[in-house]
Symmetry: D2
Subunit: 337 residues, 4 copies
């Protein structure tokens, strides 16, 4: 079930970046949950690279993708208009019915001609070649399912999960804590801008804090809480590592020094304190500076130069809401029902 996440509150994802739409179906959402459409719109804008409000996202404004029109969610089933619309101007709401919630976001920006050069080429560091190895055919008109656009559906599903978790007193906050070697958030925007200007890219580390998870959540053997979180977060493109508690750096510290740093989990089970984990995102491999060549998929024409138009100097910035979304989808399967 490669495109289904969760076994109780399942999210089925669909859609190619260059096809008609991306979207998904949520099954198992309880009836009567209020969906805040403003929150979904804001999260989709964070994912699209638009800074919204607050210090933590202002460096996201540099993304060249931010100029696009906002993604509009079309609801197909599982919800009806809320009678309890909030009073604030422009706010609308939906109420869940307990039946599957299907939604889609039309692709309005598909420009297959931009990708014509990829018809017979594999980009290094991308999934072009492995997709063809797996499926025999490959849709070269954009990244297809491997495109970051697929994460729009995750963000919508994650928003609904967050709203269900909030009713249980659980909140999730992720933030970029490192860009390259830089750990001062005040300098992240400048750091990224420098790489952007240089035609290069850089990685980042995201830290996620979860509060309110009831003690006892998680399972003691295979489905440990940390294993569920790692599985969720490692499914995000470009994520290369996951750690919690003392993590990798803890390797140099003796047991007598660190045994009270649990990261909120003991024996796979939440202990009721805040859960903290970190994950690392590699820089995007497709940059103007990367003077590597694509490998021809036809073995006839030799390597071809990479043509890079728009590029994100630090994809980790846009991964922040996706990390929150996947964390929410993992948790909602553990604490609800």
């Amino acid at each position: 079930m490669a495109n289904i996440f969760g076994d109780k509150w399942t999210f089925t994802s669909f859609g190619e970046s260059h096809g008609a739409a991306v979207g998904g179906v949520l099954d198992g959402v309880p009836a009567g949950l209020h969906i805040d459409l403003n929150m979904i719109r804001e999260e989709l804008e964070r994912r699209a690279g638009k800074g919204t409000k607050g210090q933590s996202t202002k460096y996201q404004g540099v993304s060249p993708r931010a100029l696009r029109e906002p993604d509009e969610v079309e609801w197909l089933s599982g919800v009806m208009e809320s009678d309890e619309v909030t009073k604030d101007k422009g706010q609308r709401g939906l109420i869940t019915l307990g039946t599957p919630i299907a939604f889609l976001i039309r692709n309005r920006d598909a420009r297959p001609e931009d990708y014509e050069w990829l018809r017979h080429s594999y980009r290094p560091g991308h999934a072009d070649k492995t997709y063809e190895q797996k499926y025999g055919i490959r849709d070269w008109r954009g990244g297809g399912r491997a495109s970051a656009r697929e994460t729009a559906g995750r963000v919508v599903a994650g928003c609904i999960a967050k709203q269900a978790l909030r009713l249980k007193g659980i909140s999730i906050h992720a933030a970029l804590i490192q860009v390259g070697a830089e750990t001062d958030p005040a300098k992240f925007a400048d750091t990224i801008a420098a790489y952007q200007k240089d035609g290069d890219s850089i990685g980042g580390i995201i830290e996620c804090h979860i509060s309110g998870v009831p003690a006892g959540t998680g399972e003691p053997i295979f489905n440990k809480l940390q294993a569920e979180l790692a599985f969720a977060v490692m499914s995000i493109n470009a994520c290369k590592g996951f750690e919690y508690g003392t993590g990798f750096e803890g390797v140099t510290q003796p047991g007598s020094a660190i045994n009270n740093i649990s990261g909120g989990i003991a024996g796979g089970i939440a202990d009721g304190t805040d859960i903290v984990f970190r994950c690392v995102f590699k820089p995007t491999p497709s940059t103007p500076k990367a003077l590597v060549h694509c490998t021809s998929s036809r073995n006839t024409s030799g390597d071809q130069p990479v043509k890079v138009g728009r590029h994100d100097a630090c994809v980790a910035t846009r991964a922040v809401p996706v990390v929150e979304a996947m964390t929410a989808l993992a948790l909602v399967n553990l604490v609800l029902l």
Copy 2:
């Protein structure tokens, strides 16, 4: 399904450290597979902390648990005696029937009286308290399911998985690559011995190399190959992090420098080259030096001093075969059937 791993080649684990036995049931193993009992015995000895042969395990000889009698596997179903027994002295073999393979290992070393002091105490850094939070009752006579003994069943199951994978040309080799700050394997035994003598403990990093995984293995969205591996490995006690490819250290390198380091996976799918991942294990928190106090579970008697008898100065050494076993169980679900 907290004690079941895998959805095709499922491993159901059972057993408390102080109960009658630990063991498991493997379902989905194809008929006609030859099980090498010598290999299982050797892997169980690696897990128990006995050095067997070769440089990579000699530092394991320091474990005080190594003096025990070897674990004996009793086969309950799913196998029959092989007609094709190998010629070497002492070798026996079994053939699988295609039906569920159930096995058990009797606990001969249970000493509940050693744990009497834990009846009303929670050890720091252990799952004592979270188990009680989850289940309402706790079996204080040893670690119960949270004991490292539970991993004996994983090692047996993992050996059978490895043998099936070997027939597909897939091999898995894990090794300790760091102990504390030490990265020279020649010095690991001395480093660990120093912590042991000091009544303290230290963490370690294990690196795992997988060769022969067919290109195309893994799924592109949620069940990415790296997500499946992380889920498997993060289920091991004391594991605090997982990374592959450029990992956490790659955060400081620009995209123009690292885009050919894939770790054998692109877009969640194996590219046919060797897969390499690392995982970190924290030091055991129960050491003589750790002058911390247990928290009373009764709120009546105040904190109690930790009583530590046997202790492993570096549990990462014994985790090596468990990392291999969980990797094998993850892979066998992806490449077989």
Copy 3:
């Protein structure tokens, strides 16, 4: 996972009869499969009660629902236009990409005002009351998910499954074999017409023949082939029973007489011969003649008379393609991959 069928070739169903659309997502469909859109259109017409061609469906022409415009399938993802379009006039085709196939069918016929009387009433023999018991809220504007319209998505998914099975040499043919006490198919149309005229309804028995299932398909213990088929077919509205081989009537025959009638399955596993099963559908409970009263959901106004507009005198006729679809979805999970 109440709205997901299958664990390898999964079908996620969504949509209320009175909402925007019904549809589904198929995950696990291999890349490169050709989808015959004409077949899908014909099967949707069978399901909608339109007789198409051939004797077996002519009695379906009596359904008052047959006058509607045909259902149009909109494809959202997972397919691209086939380069190998068949030569016949009007035929179009699609090729699968290996990614999730999402599709929807817009509801053009929603008339909530027809159901206004149901706002405070439960119909006998319908799921009105149990839905409210389960979810706390109920969408009274039509049957919601309990409507037969939900089966349109199953038929589309089943068509794709049938096309995959056909490539493996497997074919599925269901037919009505009994209507009330009548077992002569030549008389089914008249029998149904008589009930229709009388404002009443009648049940039917459908027999399904499956040929080409490879010997060895199915599992010996819990997931017996007959258990998988029963699970699939019993999920269809109004289906009250499933039997295969000697079935219920075989109870009166001694073992010495019947032991060669296997129904194509022995010990849960296909033996390579044709598989034959039967299932029974009850008459629709909402008929003009049914002088029963609805139960008020408000406990205030007393019972209300049932208002029946359109009614199907024999829903079993329209269930035939749904039985085939569910059989195909069950089998495709067992024989592919």
Copy 4:
């Protein structure tokens, strides 16, 4: 997962009839449940064909298998001795720990020599041939996994499930309601004895009543309550059909007559009234009277005469506790957690 039943309260079954043991592992059982060992012993005796007490089982006394020693359950994990032992003489009890409950029943009666004639033969109406088709090898020394002995594990697991259900006010009672054409229970024993004496066998119908299932239990689309029950019951050897509510006989009754007979389920969801279903069991095909020949598996020696020693004239009698067990295992996955 062919040998695992359920997705929350999972039962993993293992064991061949002629191997060391049969048994199973229950995962997901909540901590603190009291296990009544006397009830388990009585249910195992019902399954073994021993009449215990009360009218409904007295005809079971005719089984020639009833002379064996009782099955003894050995508990490997997941339970500890109860402090609250009941006062009655000979009663013992166990308390569940929340961890996997593993148990086994040793096979003391294996007589492989009785089956030597089967080494190169397939019995008609048995799974001998399909097992060999599926697995390539077959364990001819008894029925292996296809033996009725496998159901002993189901009965133990079902007893624990029943005890959990009882705490929720849910009870399950199955009884034989028809043997051949006979529907008077007072005459079942004589009817069966006549077939036994004649060297023949006969089928039976079992009816199962479930009371106390909360309204709202079950799912509206694929996992309808009736589909889950059919899946559970159709997994029992020799079961050829399942029906509920009006069932197959209802086909001759018009909608105006039957619309209040729900069988306790509407739209896949329990309505809070008693649930009633029926299932049919075929006669055993291996009888002295059945002058059929086995098919040689070697294509060399021609057909061989069937050698039948012990035979059950009506296996439906012993299926009664198995029907209850599978019903309990299905329900416990739907109403608990």
